[in-house]
């Protein structure tokens, strides 16, 4: 009898906790001219003279935290998420939050911090089998953008941006801070078109190693991420 009472108490306390939670949903949209990019089958154009096809968009989002003004109000534990445009479900992250927590800005990293890069074999989204880990040199690839364009005079007109690097002074992990206001539904846009406008695909179409250039490109992308306008 005592056991039954104990179980009922536990269940009711859990129910009470659940009732005091809210879910914050963060949607990530890799976009071209504010439209979600479609992989493999859609050609995009920056100008009348170019055609661009996207084959891969993968990106690590980590260290998600919420702030009210300048004060940290919630930090997600074990906060590592792999976005993959080929798997729509990965583009949405749901964070359970106490209903009483108010916030007006969202902080997160694009990429993986240096300490985690030296932590050995990890699981889940961080499993090296996910294809986002360099093998000739240790370290996560923070962001992969691959495709084809007539602008590239490379093999099969391919472009490949594998941005990463964890060693000083070329740690490519970038923090993004966005003012969200009070909302349970946050839509974040990765404007890939804006990134391609900032580089010249005919000259810069491959980045596969950490270093100064990868760091600069990482900063460029992080600086373009915005809250999507409805």
């Amino acid at each position: 009898m005592k056991i039954a009472v104990f179980i009922i108490c536990i269940l009711s306390s859990q129910l009470s906790v659940a009732q005091n939670k809210k879910s914050i949903v963060i949607h990530f949209y890799p976009s071209f001219h504010h439209q979600n990019i479609q992989l493999e089958n859609t050609w995009y154009h920056l100008s009348a003279n170019d055609s661009i096809l996207f084959e891969t968009f993968k990106c690590y989002i980590s260290n998600i935290s919420f702030y009210q003004n300048d004060s940290l109000v919630f930090k997600e534990k074990n906060s590592y998420h792999l976005l993959d445009a080929s798997e729509v479900s990965t583009l949405q992250i749901t964070i359970p939050l106490n209903a009483s927590i108010a916030f007006n800005s969202l902080h997160f990293n694009i990429g993986i911090d240096s300490a985690t890069n030296t932590a050995g074999a990890l699981g889940g989204d961080m499993d090296p089998a996910k294809g986002m880990y360099w093998t000739w040199q240790s370290g996560y690839i923070n962001l992969k953008l691959e495709g084809k364009s007539n602008l590239c005079t490379t093999h099969k007109h391919e472009f490949n941006f594998h941005l990463g690097g964890y060693m000083f002074p070329y740690c490519a992990c970038q923090q993004v801070v966005l003012n969200t206001g009070e909302t349970d539904d946050i839509a974040i846009e990765f404007p890939v078109d804006k990134f391609l406008e900032k580089i010249d695909l005919s000259k810069q179409n491959s980045m596969m190693i950490p270093g100064k250039e990868a760091l600069e490109l990482s900063k460029t992308i992080a600086g373009l991420v915005i809250i999507q306008k409805h």
């Binding site: 990890l122 090296p128 089998a129 000739w136 040199q137």
Partner: protein
């Protein structure tokens, strides 16, 4: 109702305790006088089933693209887990790599791996040869697939990790478990240090020479300081290997390579990052007469090493005391023939 609940609780408790008992971590023995290992065993506690799984994976060519090359192919026990007589490591289809395969010894104390330190943790080391087109030319995700669809491994992963779903993380951690057990600490040198043996006169003189000329980089008891050094080798223009600078992009690291351990050096010829020297005599001759001056040359080598022919023999006599015959014959490290004779390495999708 009450009785049933109590019985259920008792059964659950017994099951939990028996699992815990079966999964009690093995203790990693640190030889007396040795430093604390670098490897964080709390994140991957040693377990007999994981070690056994890692040993099977180490010897199974399923890790390579065409299932012809295993870790053992370039890291054979009889040569202290290196590729004896091969200056550069071999890969599938007879491909030749661009570096000499290092010994796999005392890896728990390694702070970085590969000749240029490209790999920062033992757990992720195996990814490098596995993916190198000149070596195994495989992809860890495909290895996961091959092991998962085969008959043998899901059960072994379940036994080791309580999960039959195979992951890259578990493959790598199992390989680490086996490699961590490759501790060599029972050479004559070790026995002398423990008071169980004595150096001969030549070995003792060689030890003195070693301490004077070599120990700043090949620091006891691991016989490496774990750092990167330019030891004055002439650049091989067919390889043009810049060493550590490839990783850091910094000119101060040009031509620097990881200082290798000297343990079991008698078994691990050829020597240097490109296997250019076939004998220890050639190695010492280079230190005596062949040092190339360059801005990043180790400062001690700038002054040169001057020893006589007789002293060279004494130094080699000492280096031979670092041979650990128990290690290279330890059945715990050998090919698991009882389990792997019919290799799933022959699987072809």
């Amino acid at each position: 109702m009450k009785k049933i609940a109590v019985i259920c609780l008792l059964v659950a408790a017994i099951a939990f305790m028996s699992f815990r008992a079966r999964k009690t971590s093995l203790h990693f023995n640190v030889p007396v006088g040795w430093p604390k290992p670098v490897y964080d065993f709390r994140k991957n506690p040693l377990d007999k089933d994981k070690i056994a799984l890692g040993r099977m994976l180490f010897y199974d060519p399923v890790l390579s693209k065409d299932s012809t090359i295993s870790c053992n192919s370039c890291h054979a026990q009889f040569s202290a887990f290196t590729h004896v007589d091969h200056s550069l490591s071999h890969g599938i289809n007879g491909r030749i790599g661009n570096r000499n395969s290092p010994v796999l010894v005392n890896l728990a104390w390694g702070n970085s791996f590969m000749w240029d330190g490209a790999v920062n943790h033992l757990d992720v080391q195996a990814l490098a040869p596995m993916s190198n087109p000149l070596e195994m030319d495989e992809d860890i995700a495909h290895v996961v697939y091959k092991l998962q669809v085969g008959n043998r491994y899901p059960q072994l992963f379940y036994i080791a990790f309580a999960d039959s779903t195979i992951t890259g993380e578990h493959i790598l951690k199992a390989l680490s478990q086996f490699m961590l057990t490759l501790v060599s600490a029972d050479s004559k040198y070790d026995k002398v240090k423990r008071g169980e043996a004595s150096f001969t006169d030549a070995e003792a003189k060689g030890y003195t020479l070693f301490q004077k000329n070599c120990s700043s980089c090949h620091t006891e008891p691991l016989f490496t300081n774990g750092e990167y050094e330019n030891n004055g080798l002439m650049v091989d223009e067919t390889l043009n290997d810049i060493g550590r600078m490839k990783i850091t992009h910094h000119p101060v690291d040009s031509l620097k390579f990881k200082v290798p351990t000297l343990r079991n050096i008698q078994y691990s010829a050829p020597y240097m990052h490109d296997g250019r020297f076939k004998t220890l005599s050639q190695v010492l001759n280079n230190y005596i007469m062949g040092i190339q001056q360059s801005p990043t040359l180790n400062p001690i080598l700038k002054k040169g090493i001057y020893i006589t022919t007789e002293q060279k023999a004494e130094l080699i006599a000492f280096l031979y005391t670092l041979s650990d015959t128990a290690f290279i014959h330890d059945p715990a490290f050998s090919y698991p023939k009882d389990k792997l004779l019919l290799s799933e390495g022959k699987y072809n999708p």
